[in-house]
Amino acid sequence: MALDSKVPDGPLAEKWDKHKFDLKLVNPANKRKYTVIVVGTGLAGGAAAASLGELGYNVLNFCIQDSSRRAHSIAAQGGINAAKNYPNDGDSIWRLFYDTVKGGDYRSREANVYRLAQVSNNIIDQCVAQGVPFARDYGGLLDNRSFGGAQVSRTFYARGQTGQQLLLGAYSSLMRQVEAGTVKMFTRHEMLDLVIQDGHARGIVTRDLVTGEVKSYAADAVAIATGGYGNVFYLSTNAKNSNGTAAWRCYKRGAFFANPCFTQIHPTCIPVSGDYQSKLTLMSESLRNDGRVWVTKKKGDKRSPTQIPENERDYYLEERYPSFGNLVPRDVASRNAKDVCDDGRGVGDTGLAVYLDFADAISRLGEHTIREKYGNLFDMYQRITDENPYKVPMRIYPAVHYTMGGLWVDYNLESTIPGLFVLGEANFSDHGANRLGASALMQGLADGYFVIPYTIGDYLATNGVSGASPDDAEFKAVEEEVNAGIDKLRSIKGKRTPTELHRELGLKVWEYIGMSRKEAGLKKALKEIPALKEEFWSDLKIPDDKDNLNKHLEFAGRLADYFELAELMAVDARDRKESCGGHFRDESQTEEGEAKRDDENFTHVSAWEYKGEGKKPQLNKEPLVFENVELTQRSYK
């Protein structure tokens, strides 16, 4: 199938304005006749549901948490980018666009990224107007800080809790719409399938996580904003309940899945401490503004960090990348950490860590200033590790954090299924092969506040009221499938818990589809993952109750999808024989060990099409055309 990105003609800077004019509108009085389902209440979903409600549509909004305020966007720490250029340091929409395309290693769609940079400024205005308490300086104006992959300070922040504050802003707008009656909120509801009628997405089937009731909801359009699939690795910085199920089930109904192998390994996380470990905790990238990354020059040096003299320390990022130093993009920082640890120079008990040292910054700026900037992060670090980072350097190591891959969408954020829109991390669109820090919040809110209200209106105006009802045969058929799927999990009655199996899957994904990928490992992955999947389907043990809260039943359903998703990640990683961004193929590196792209053969989006159980997915390519930036080997030296 030929993929039509629907990118409008015309000069880059004029495309979105022109497109907004070309999009059809729904008359204000007619909006209430349309129903839109929004799944997810994070920055993308919450913002979309609230904005669509404000416009007057009927919105049905679903989340798995007990409140829409708990979506995982809340855990984002460092900040949100915008091209305001308040610091007068040379920023512009064009520069934010350029940095994002370059940071993504030239594997994103130019027009989408440009639009993202354009609306970034509206987001900051919107959030301030909602009462988001961004950091300010003494004159009362907004403060900015720097993030990786940029040489300007364009990151707005609210201490180390920016995601929380932005999400609570979106949540407050959402609560206002719930009160106004435009949005109906369904908490503790999990979307388990998509319903298609006459070739269009017309609704979803959910399970009420408290009562177990499986039920259909019909609408005129469906928007999925359910986040990424980082938990396929078991250990990640994602929340425990974050999962890929909603997106995966849309894939199995015909939505293409793009670039599944593009996963982001974040360089600064608290290292693993034991087998019981249930998740990894991120330490915001903003810490790299003031922290210096180092390891020992000598292999296996077990002295305490304070006893290691300056000349025996290797500040490897500052050394290798003098112009960006500790603020290289995430993929570069992560790979370098892995390299020095593989070289036997990792620190701490496990040797799988590097130091992030604030001693210089504390002596330059004073402990008070550092506490003001990062206090909550330092406290969190101390609670987890029992070490005081004001006195000894933090130990950090890369961990899975974000997935750039996701459901394929066109310029309107519409998937290959008409009427199914995908927002935020759940889509693939803006970050290419590597996302820059502080850009996830920007994209989620851009999609929700400023893109979907326009593009979904055009879809509704074009297609009219669907008249779909949960009583239609298509809905009943999908409900039956969902019920059968739940019963299948319950009927296995084996010996292994979902957690055990998930942990085992995670180790394989990390080993073979983690920070570096090679042909032999990917081949192994494609053998071992399906074998483990077999074991899952023959030896799973979960509590049986389906008519009551049963979190292990929920986990088992999500894990079943992770096995399939992990396989597709391996297939995609194997097909993409180049290195780019977070996807590092051992076979494709420069002499200096940097990722080496193959623009001739891989300047495309790989969009995978589901062909049925046990059948090979089909690869569809969307060529990426760069009319405004020149493709170069990324250099942060």
């Binding site: 007990d66 409140s67 305020r69 205005d125 009362g140 719930v178 209200p453 509590p543």
Partner: protein, 252 residues
């Protein structure tokens, strides 16, 4: 120590309509490096293997920011560490042979769903009553158009850091939601963006709090003591001032 044995007493309750009770479990091989919730994960793995029902407890980010986790641990909401949500409590607090009682949040307005999981939707309804600025996407002026003094912005941020976990309610002898409600009223009262609606907001949120069955504040300050974000009860004082002013002069 990597090999502690603990005596757990856990509240078990099948569903909202059943009655519950404390059940004893002995758990071996607990490491001091584990988080409290990882210790419960280990218990649940054991229970599932033994064919018993695992203990249901709410949790999500495990970084102390989403506000999903709860638990009253040995009588204290979120356990013994100050300024720490349950998910950030680590087992180095405990020693071999300790007995730990684990209960759900208890408040009339928080009905139990199962075991340690409660229904906190009443807090959402308080927010729906007025915990927002009435503005639609698209109409905002430039973000730097209105300077806000740093100390106001900082105080607003202190209030805004509330994670909505409900510990304040669970630890209050009156099961009052005052600290939760005050945190939002106070945040928006401190910022110019919240000014146009401050009277209506104070009245509506306080009234909703009462309607949900939460008690009133009688200055015990247990809420402040257990708040994982250490939000000050001075915000309750501000809420009271906002409410009285609004009640006296409000035109809405």
């Amino acid at each position: 120590m990597d090999n502690m044995t603990l005596n757990l007493k856990v509240w078990r309750q099948k569903d909202a309509s059943s009655s519950g009770k404390m059940v004893d479990y002995k758990l071996d091989a607990v490491s001091q490096h584990m988080s409290f919730l990882e210790m419960l994960d280990v218990l649940n793995e054991k229970l599932i293997k033994d064919g018993e029902d695992p203990v249901e407890f709410d949790n999500d980010c495990r970084e102390g920011i989403c506000g999903t986790c709860s638990l009253v641990i040995n009588g204290v909401a979120h356990g013994p560490w100050n300024g720490t949500a349950t998910c950030q409590l680590h087992m180095r607090e405990y020693k071999h042979g300790d007995t730990i009682a684990i209960e759900p949040w208890r408040a009339a307005a928080f009905p139990i769903i199962k075991d340690l999981v409660v229904d906190r939707s009443a807090m959402d309804r308080i927010m729906q009553a007025g915990g927002y600025v009435s503005m639609n996407a698209g109409g905002a002026p430039d973000a730097n158009g209105l300077p806000i003094a740093k100390h106001f912005a900082e105080d607003a941020m202190d209030a805004a850091s509330c994670i909505g976990c409900g510990a304040c309610i669970a630890s209050c002898p009156n099961a009052s939601a005052s600290l939760f409600t005050a945190a939002k009223i106070s945040q928006l009262a401190l910022l110019p963006q919240g000014a146009p609606e401050r009277q209506r907001r104070a009245l509506a949120m306080v009234e909703q709090m009462d309607a949900e069955g939460f008690g009133d504040c009688s200055n015990h300050a247990e809420c402040e003591a257990t708040c994982p974000k250490e939000i000050s009860i001075s915000h309750i004082a501000r809420m009271k001032r906002e409410y009285f002013k609004a009640a006296l002069i409000s035109k809405v």
